[in-house]
Amino acid sequence: MTDDRDTISIEQTLENFPPTIADELRAVMRLVPRSVHIRLLDLAEEALGLSSPAVSEFLRTCPFVIERAGPAGLESWCQEGLELLRKSEGSGIEYFRLGTFRSAHLLEKLSPGVELSSIKKLIETYCLALIGGKTPVLPAELPIDRHAIFLPEFVDRYPSKPENFTWYKVMATHQIGHFEFGSYEFRIDKATTLCHNLGLLHGPVDGDDTTTDLLRFLNLFDNSKLATDIFTIVEDSRIDFLTKQRYRGIGQDYSRIQAEALSLRPPITSHSLREAFLEIMVRLSLQGSGKWLVPAILHAPLRLASRIMDRVISPEASIEDSTEAMIHLYQLASRIPASRSRIDRWEAIELNSNGDEPFTSTLSDIDEVLRELQWDATDGSPHFSPAKVEYRGIFRLEPAHEIREAESTGVEEEETKYASSPWPASTETVEMNDVLDIGELAAATDDPEETHVFGMNALSEQDTPFSEAQPEQEDDSNEGESLTVDSPLSYLYDEWDFRASDYRLRWCRVREMPLAEGTPDFFEATLDEYARLVAEIRGRFEQLNPRARRKVKRLHDGEDFDLDALVDFVIGKKAGHGSDAKIYWRRNKIERDVSVAFLLDMSSSTVEYINRLQRDSIGPVFASDYRTYFEWLQSDHQGKLRPKEFKRIIDLEKESIVLLIRALETIGDSYGIYGFSSHGRENVELYMIKDLEEDFSDRVKSRIDSIIPQRGTRMGPAIRHATWKLEQQESKGKFLFLISDGRPEDHSYGREGLEKEYAIHDTRMALLEARQKGVTSLCLTFDQEGHDYLGTICGDMQYEVLADIESLPACLPTLYGWLTT
């Protein structure tokens, strides 16, 4: 057989590989379809010729790539990587690790599947439109939020992206339907009144406020798990009906997906009578009618159940109708034997929806049916839930109390970010049990039927063993891994790797940090010291001449004649009336609509004295080793007073900030001031000196006092975060002022430690990104030597090198005015 021949030749080929790689190859081949084995060997061989670490990365990612993009996709994706590998080993390795933008992006393009992350915002806005309240969309693996809808992280059920998107859309529309059509408007008082009226409930319900009405209600039932299942089936059925009725546009896709769900229902063979009964109810909820082979003894109960369920298939059906139907169905189902016994007679049953013929079931109908069957009291067999209907997602029973209105974006952001943190995988059934807290039912999940868990692989025909090979599952945090968010005020950013000309994904972590408050003295002293400059800057700012200022007409005095007014005036005079001589116009200050973020370099290198001469005579020259700076800085900062005339870069930065604040308060632009420093890519710190939203106050003054040199200068992420902050502003004009010593450098800011080029390119890229996002940047430095770098970093963007603070007033308003008009 050819199979054997292949196996033999594969074994032979494997011998040509180094043993470790051969082992890895064998492991991978067990995970991927046979048809790609030979090709896989070829590709591995080709990669091996270029770099052996790259082969390992390739092999680790490969099952995932095949799962997403298929064998053809693997080929294209791999070719691209090989090409890169030929140019640069480091970049190639990064590529095969799926750690770069280009790599991830290409894979996404090659795959017919749709990733939740790529459509999350779209779906969220869609849901917001449908129900008018913000509803976060979370990965189905994370059912922790009380008022969210849950979608799988990845869908590739169908061969094309639009079809897979439609699946998401139907799933979202169903789940949001619970909000729109009032599933959560359930009120326990109404429901219990109903029970009292039916004679089912005696005595009051305990007033437990810790849980929701719905849960409290369901817990009233002896078998609350059964009650929950019935309620879910009935309510989902109602929501399906209403959704299709109100959203005719999606109706066709919706029905198709329902039919698919129906075709995937498990056969009834191994069920207990009660399970079989519930299973048919689920099928009824999917289609309303059908012909199925069922235990003959269930015919009468099923006919009754079908008529009871019809009740919610109506445009007017409300949550109360569902509740009533559920109570009745529970009365019926709880009496059907739950133990597995042999079923003697099977007979097909045909159930039809009798929507037109109104039917109000009564408990006596139920009693009648049951009496004939002579089933008595409930039996104690464990309850098994019917297999889930996948497109219906997760029906959270909790949010009954309130659907919270929009959260502040901050909180939402936080949720989103946490969504990527590892969370114990749990099947939905287990989760429901947790929620319901109704004892030891874990056994339920052992049922083979229950393996229809919520998730991307659940219903796909072939089992997909590759999923455990996903690269992100590794937890050894070696040098080259993407980061995760670890606290509410931390943010992840990509970093530009110029050698690979690609982004390293989620490479840097920026933390927002408070800055201790010193005293306002520094602020006041600076103003005193530079009283003359302050006045000058102020004056210049006041006459800042933005191009877009508005012409105000009909004034007594102004820049020039207002011709219209003049004509009127002359005519008036001619007519013999002393018209008002408002015949001038002038440009007035417009309401400026500008936000500015100042990024202040707080790296250790700013400790350098500004003037070479001074520097040489005062302190050691610290090449560019910031650790030595740091030590020196501490000794220096602790007490030894510097002569006033010897200013360090940081001093000038602080002083110019003081002067700037003065000026900005004059013209009233909104501005934020952030200091930044870093210690490796995981620790880029952004100190909040004055947040954009914050008003200027003594506290801001006091924080300026505490600006001291810290550590490294990873400019890229700082710029990206400041850009993000500006993006949150609604102003028309957005500006970023980067005040630094002009030298980006940080621990491993570059492939080989302090590789200047890398840092410079990343910084430059960050500024370009800012420009793309509508943020205009200006770099400012006091260090003559900074000139060289700034030139490269800024390219055609504005930058300015100042000799000393005296030149600030002259240039600032010009720059600022140039920028902000």
Binding site: L130, K134, D564, G572
Partner: protein, 298 residues
Amino acid sequence: MSAQGQGTYREHVVEEYIITEEPFYLPVKDEVKLFEAAYSQKIPVLLKGPTGCGKTRFLEYMAYRLGKPLAVVKSRSRKAASSDGQRAIPLITVACHEDLTASDLVGRYLLEGESTKWIDGPLSRAVKAGAICYLDEIVEARKDTTVLVHPLTDHRRILPVEKKGEVIEANDGFLLVVSYNPGYQSTLKDLKQSTRQRFIAIEFDYPPLDLETEIIKHESGVVETLAHDLARLGEKARNLKEYHLQEGASTRLLIYAGKLIVQGVAPRRACQVAVVWAISDEAEVQQSIEEVVSSIFE
């Protein structure tokens, strides 16, 4: 063409309507009753509400209702024509903008040969004719223009004509109505308290679903179910306001969509061009609204 003479190029920004039959207007709340009461008590009215929600239509309807049949002053010469014993109430609309001056409203001298001639502005004409004068988007006007209406809108009911050294006492039928859309103006442009406190404010919003369905159906001629779907689309799109949109989809836009559908444009496409495109330029938001459209319309 009303007030164009030699020596000046200025046109008066007066829109004039000739209303021959009853405008279609569906009352939403008690606005008709309120307006009637205000009119008979000569209390100036401020109409507050988003664009395209029916303010102008309401006023047309009230002008018609309060003084049917209605004759509209086309020019000064025709003013006297409101004869035949019945009290007709003209409606004179002025769209306010930042360059609107007092003279634009009150009147000015124009050169005529060697002499000059006084021409009344729309406000003077309304005051004399006993018209309802509608200053649309009052906040857009210059502050010194806005204060002009102060003596007209308190017990004095007079319009000073500075240039002529006269005051005009308002005709009994005169009423000043202004509109104001609180949505998109910045707070800086807010009305001055002393202006604001001269008006009662009737608040408008997009009509509730059922009414809006009926309005869309009537105005565009689409069938009931489609009108209902359009109204629902409006409701959904308005949910995005505050988060993603400056303004929700107006009734006017929904009517446009309906009209396109009546002309044979496919509903999804009609909504796309009339609604989706008009209310946002953000690609992602547009896409989301399109998904809503494709959920609702077949």
